[in-house]
């Protein structure tokens, strides 16, 4: 049967979402950098002496908009947030969380294994998808505070950002401004990505099949979270250093 193109285009099929996620996961999963900062960017950071705000902002933004783990988590968080002020509240909680650990992690040289942090970040993606479908209430009979959860996972994501930045052997000359520049960039990148997600969600929620496809989509986010977690754990197990 031939489907009318306009009808086909108006419905955002969850499978297209899966295709995007798996493509992102598969192309980014190179052994060298499990979503880190690599190649010439790493060389740039290692060679920087003194404050260099704008390039570091760019690196922070780039890390965020190409960071499928952070993006999937944010996507899960805003999935069922229908009011703009709720979106702003949750994203702010997430930003405060990750800024705290990004800044203190780098300043205090807190050395956490990047793979283990990334595994917990993968778990946070799965957690949010499970939570979105009401899993905690129906399976365990308790509902953890969703605001507290996004703030706590924000702290974990910040440790992930801190380990990536520290792995680059940041020079102490200009450390604070460069780190803050990176942090500002992360927020800008997050804002850009968030704007795109909100547009997609607005269109998607208008479709008649949203209720059903939202279950499928969260099941897929759950699966993607498990993939990220298992991938990071196996990378940790095989001892490939970030």
């Amino acid at each position: 049967m031939r489907q009318s193109p306009s009808r086909y285009a108006s419905r955002i099929h969850p499978l297209s979402f899966v295709a995007i996620v798996s493509a992102a996961v598969l192309t980014e999963c190179n052994g060298a950098f499990a979503h880190g900062i690599g190649g010439q960017d790493a060389a740039f950071v290692a060679g920087t002496r003194g404050p260099d705000l704008v390039p570091f902002m760019y690196l922070g933004a780039k890390h965020m908009v190409t960071g499928y783990d952070h993006l999937l988590f944010i996507f899960g968080v805003i999935f069922f947030l229908y009011r703009l002020h709720d979106v702003i509240l949750y994203v702010t909680l997430f930003s405060i969380g990750h800024s705290i650990t990004l800044l203190t992690g780098v300043l205090l040289h807190i050395d956490v294994n990047a793979y283990l942090v990334d595994a917990v970040i993968g778990l946070s993606v799965a957690y949010k998808a499970f939570d979105n479908l009401g899993g905690f209430k129906s399976v365990f009979g308790v509902q953890p505070d969703t605001r507290a959860a996004v703030a706590i996972f924000g702290l974990i994501h910040g440790f992930g950002l801190a380990t990536k930045l520290q792995a680059l052997r940041l020079n102490s000359n200009g450390l604070v401004p460069n780190m803050i520049g990176f942090n500002i960039g992360v927020e800008l990148g997050q804002f850009i990505a968030l704007a795109g997600m909100l547009v997609v969600m607005l269109l998607w929620r208008r479709t008649a099949s949203f209720e059903r496809s939202s279950v499928e989509a969260n099941a897929l986010i759950l699966m993607a979270g498990f993939v990220l977690m298992e991938y990071q754990l196996t990378a940790y197990y095989f001892g490939m250093k970030a």
């Binding site: 999963c29 052994g31 009401g134 129906s138 099941a219 196996t234």
Partner: protein, 217 residues
């Protein structure tokens, strides 16, 4: 607070089924595809079956060439040798290949050779590219790579002291529209790589005229 969830929560049974399904699919992806392709591990055998395992390549670790320092006078356990290697290269973009070739020799750390190579019949110097480099051989998940010189040009002469045990030599690429012959002379303390082995995968035979140098593949 609990905003931001689905309007009608799923039942416990459906929730458990979705979670179990997600775990199974995720594990299939990780153990069936990512492990063979990224870590050279194939617990399910799917990596061999699908060819995904062939995607695996050791991670390259750059070696800082400028940081190496060796004594000026030193002894070598291997005998001194001299080889002349000549081979033809086909015009750029030849559908059958043959417009690029890699030739390396095996060296111990701190061993030295002197060399000269040249290629004739290249209309402009920028139409011939070379990458003079070395890398380790034993790495399973990573290998150390030292880049000595990457440039275009039609000749080079100089010396190399190997920064580590491994294979060291040239990748040549003919970017001109002519069929050319490269002539390379090496003298020093090294071993030739047998045709077909890593470093000489184009099956170059040393010390024979260019037209006989490319053996059977």
């Amino acid at each position: 607070m609990t905003e931001g969830q689905i309007a009608t929560p799923l039942s416990a049974i459906r929730m458990l089924a979705i979670t179990a399904g997600a775990l199974v699919v995720a594990s299939l992806i990780v153990f069936g595809a990512i492990l063979p392709a990224e870590f050279n591990q194939d617990p399910t055998g799917l990596g061999r079956l699908t060819g995904l395992g062939r995607l695996f390549a050791p991670r390259q670790v750059a070696f800082d060439v400028s940081a190496s320092a060796v004594p000026i006078a030193r002894d070598f356990p291997t005998p001194f040798r001299t080889d002349t290697i000549e081979f033809p290269m086909l015009p750029d973009g030849n559908p059958a290949g043959g417009d690029q070739l890699e030739y390396k020799v095996r060296m111990k750390k701190d061993a030295t050779f002197i060399y000269e190579w040249s290629v004739a019949n290249i209309p402009t110097e920028t139409e011939f590219y070379f990458d003079f480099h070395g890398h380790t051989l034993d790495g399973n998940t990573e290998m150390t790579v030292a880049t000595y010189k990457q440039a275009t040009g039609t000749s080079q002469n100089g010396a190399l002291t190997a920064p580590f045990d491994g294979i060291h030599g040239w990748f040549f690429q003919n970017q001109s529209l002519n069929k050319v012959v490269v002539r390379l002379k090496i003298s020093g303390f090294y071993d030739l790589v047998e045709p077909g082995e890593p470093g000489n995968e184009s099956h170059v035979i040393a010390n024979v005229p260019a037209e006989q140098a490319l053996g059977k593949k």
